[in-house]
C-alpha cells in the first residue's frame, strides 16, 4: 500500500511523514558532542562545574616493531607474500594483546586473499565482519572490521578499513563466502557499500527502510507521553553522564 503525501488523516491510519534524518548524507541532527561537559546538556543547565570539560579523542597510533607474540610472524609473512604491503597497510596497531592491521579499503580483497591462502598465514575462517562509526573523530568515519581466525596456528588478527560516509570497498565474499550476510548487515547498519557483493541488500532492517541505524548521527526519536504534552527525549539528549 502506498500512501500519498499530504493525504488527509483518516481515523487510525498513519499518514506519510517525511522520515526524520533519513537522508544518507545530510543527517537532520547531529547529536551534541559528547566530548564537552559531563551531562550531555548545553547552555545554562549545567551547574556542576564540569560544563567546560573537554575530553580529547584518543588518536590511534601505530605500534612500532617488534610487536611481540605471533604478531611479528604474521606481519612478516604478509610482507613477504604480499608485494604491495608497504602501500596497502596504513598502520599496525597492537593493543590489549590483539593485532589490528589498518588497510587501505581498496586493497582489502587482495589482503584477505593472501591472509587466507599463504601457507604461513592460513587464516581459514573469517569470524566476523562488522562496522564502527567514528563520527567526528575520523574523516573516513566508517570503519569496517574483519576478524580472521587461523585454525591451523590458532591465531587471530583484525583487519580494519576506513571509508567515508557513502564510500565503498571491495567485498571479500569471493574469498570468504561467510562474509555475505555479515557484509549485508554492515551495509544495512552503516551504509558501507561493498562492491562485487552478489546481493547487497538489507538483511536485518526491512527492505524499504531509510537511513542506516547504527550510524552515530542516526536520530533516535523520543516517546511522547500523554501528560501535558510532555515527551521522553531520545536517549542521546537525556541528562546523563557521558
Amino acid at each position: 500500500m502506498t500512501i500519498e503525501p499530504n493525504e488527509s488523516t483518516t481515523e487510525g491510519v498513519p499518514v506519510k511523514a517525511e522520515p526524520v534524518g533519513a537522508d544518507i548524507d545530510a543527517p537532520a541532527q547531529v547529536p551534541s558532542s559528547p566530548r564537552k561537559g559531563m551531562f550531555g546538556i548545553t547552555g545554562t543547565g549545567d551547574v556542576s562545574g564540569f560544563g567546560g570539560l573537554v575530553r580529547r579523542h584518543p588518536e590511534v597510533v601505530g605500534t612500532p616493531k617488534p610487536y611481540g607474540g605471533y604478531f611479528d610472524e604474521v606481519t612478516d609473512a604478509l610482507e613477504e607474500a604480499y608485494p604491495g604491503f608497504a602501500d596497502a597497510i596504513e598502520k599496525v596497531v597492537v593493543d590489549r594483546g590483539e593485532l589490528t592491521l589498518h588497510i587501505k579499503p581498496e586493497r582489502i580483497l587482495e589482503v584477505a586473499q593472501i591472509m587466507r591462502d599463504d601457507e604461513s598465514l592460513r587464516f581459514e575462517l573469517c569470524s566476523s565482519v562488522s562496522g564502527v562509526d567514528y563520527l567526528n573523530s575520523d574523516a573516513r568515519r566508517l570503519h569496517v572490521t574483519y576478524h580472521l581466525t587461523s585454525m591451523t596456528f590458532r591465531r587471530r588478527v583484525r583487519l580494519e578499513a576506513a571509508v567515508p560516509a557513502g564510500g565503498s570497498l571491495p567485498s571479500v565474499t569471493s574469498v570468504y563466502p561467510t562474509a555475505d550476510w555479515q557484509e549485508r548487515e554492515t551495509y544495512d547498519m552503516f551504509g558501507v557499500i561493498f562492491t562485487g557483493h552478489p546481493n547487497l541488500t538489507r538483511v536485518l532492517m526491512p527492505d524499504d527502510w531509510e537511513g542506516f541505524p547504527q550510524r552515530k548521527d542516526y536520530p533516535l526519536g523520543g516517546v511522547p507521553v500523554e501528560y501535558k504534552g510532555a515527551e521522553i527525549p531520545p536517549p542521546d539528549q537525556r541528562r546523563v553522564y557521558q
Binding site: P34, T100, R154, Q182, E185, L204, M205, P235, Y241
Partner: protein, 441 residues
Amino acid sequence: MTQSGYASERETTEGRVFTVTGGDWDTVTGSVDPLSNEKIVVNMGPQHPSTHGVLRLVLELEGETVTDVRPVVGYLHTGIEKNLEYRNWTQGTTFVTRADYLAPLFNEAGYCLAVEKLLGITDDITERANTIRVLFMELNRISSHLVWLATTGMELGAISMMLYGFREREYILDIFEETSGLRMNHAYFRPGGVAQDIPESAIKKIRDFLVYLPKKLKEYEDMLSGQVIWQERTQGVAVLDVTGCLALGVTGPVLRASGLAWDLRKTMPYCGYENYEFDVPTATTADVWGRYQVRLAEIRESLKIVEQALDKLRPGPIFISDKKIAWPAQLAVGLDGMGNSLEHVAKIMGQSMESLIHHFKLVTEGFRVPPGQVYVSIEHPRGELGVHAVSDGGTHPYRVHMRDPSFVNLQAIPAMAEGALLADVIAGGASLDPVMGGCDR
C-alpha cells in the same frame, strides 16, 4: 516483416495494424517441458511451526525437490547493539542476555569477557567467579541442547521428545531461578564477576540433576537412535563437509559433526576451561545424524564439566576486589527477581554516607573504560559467539557487535538444502539450531 513469435503487422493509412491470431494451445503447452516448468515458489514462515522461530524461507520447488532456497531474517531485530550504546557498561548485560534467549548466559559471558579485556582485568577475576561462570555456562549448554533435541524431535515427528526435552530443561531453569532470580534473561554475569553467590540449595539441585539427567539421556537415545524413521530422516540428510563449513563460517556442533574438532574451550580457552577435563565429541558423517550424535555427546561432556566445577568451588569472593568496577549493591533474590538487598538499602540510607555516594556514582554513572577495541569469542552451544566491543573512554559502550553463530550458520541453509527434498529442509534447518533472537539481535 515480422519475426516468428510476434504478432504480424502491416502499415495502413490509419497507422500500423497488428494481426493477433489465436495460438493453438496444444502447440503452446506441448512445447513446454512439463518437468522443468512445474516450478512453484513456496513461502515458508516467518510464522511457521517448523522453522525454529521467525525464520522465513522462500523455496523454489520442482515437485518435492528444492531447487532454490532463500532464507530471510530480521523479523526479530530489536536493536540490541544500538541500545547498548546508550546504557552504561554494567547495564549492557541486561540487553545482550536477551539476544539468544536459549543461551542467555553465553551472551552475558561473551560481553563481560569483552568488557573485562577492555579494562585489562581478565586475570583479576576471582577463581570462584570463573568457576561459577563455567558451571552455569555448561548447564546452559545442556539446556540449550535439550531444547534443540526437543524442537528437532517435534519437527521430525517425535512429539514425545519435545515434551521430555522441555521437561528436563525446566530442571536447569529452576537452578538458574534459584540463583539469579530469573528463569531466562538473567543478567547474572556482570563485568567483574557474577551478580551474587550460588546458594547451597542450588548446588544440591545441580548434584541431583547430575544423577538424574544421564538416565534420561539414555532413554532418549534408546527412543530415537534405533528408530527407523529417525534414522531415515537424519542419516545422509543436509550434508555439509568441513570445506563447506569453513567457507560459510559454520562453527559449533555442525562443524564438529563434519569431523573437525574445533572447540574454542580447547583451542583458545577462556574462564579457566584449560583446567577441566573433557573431550570434544566429533562425528564424520557431516549430516543431521552426526549433529544429533555430537550434541548428545556434548551434553554428557558438559555434565562432566559441571561435576568438576562443583568440586572446584571454593569459598571466596565472586566479584573483583576493585570497588570502582564491582557492582556496589548487595543483591538478593526476591519474589520478582534480583534486586538490592534490604540490608544494603538500610545501610546506605541510614548508616554510611560514603556507601551511598559510592553506590550512587557507580549505579548512575558507571565506570569508565579506557579507549580501544577488543574481540572476544567463546564457544556458544551453536558455535563461535564473538563480541567486538569498542570503547571511546566513556561510561557507555561506543559500539558492541555480536557475531552470533545463528546468524552466520543460517547462511548454510541453501548449501545444505538445494537439490534435496522439501522435508529435508526442515531437518537441515533444525540441525543448525538457529535461534532467531540471536540471529536478528
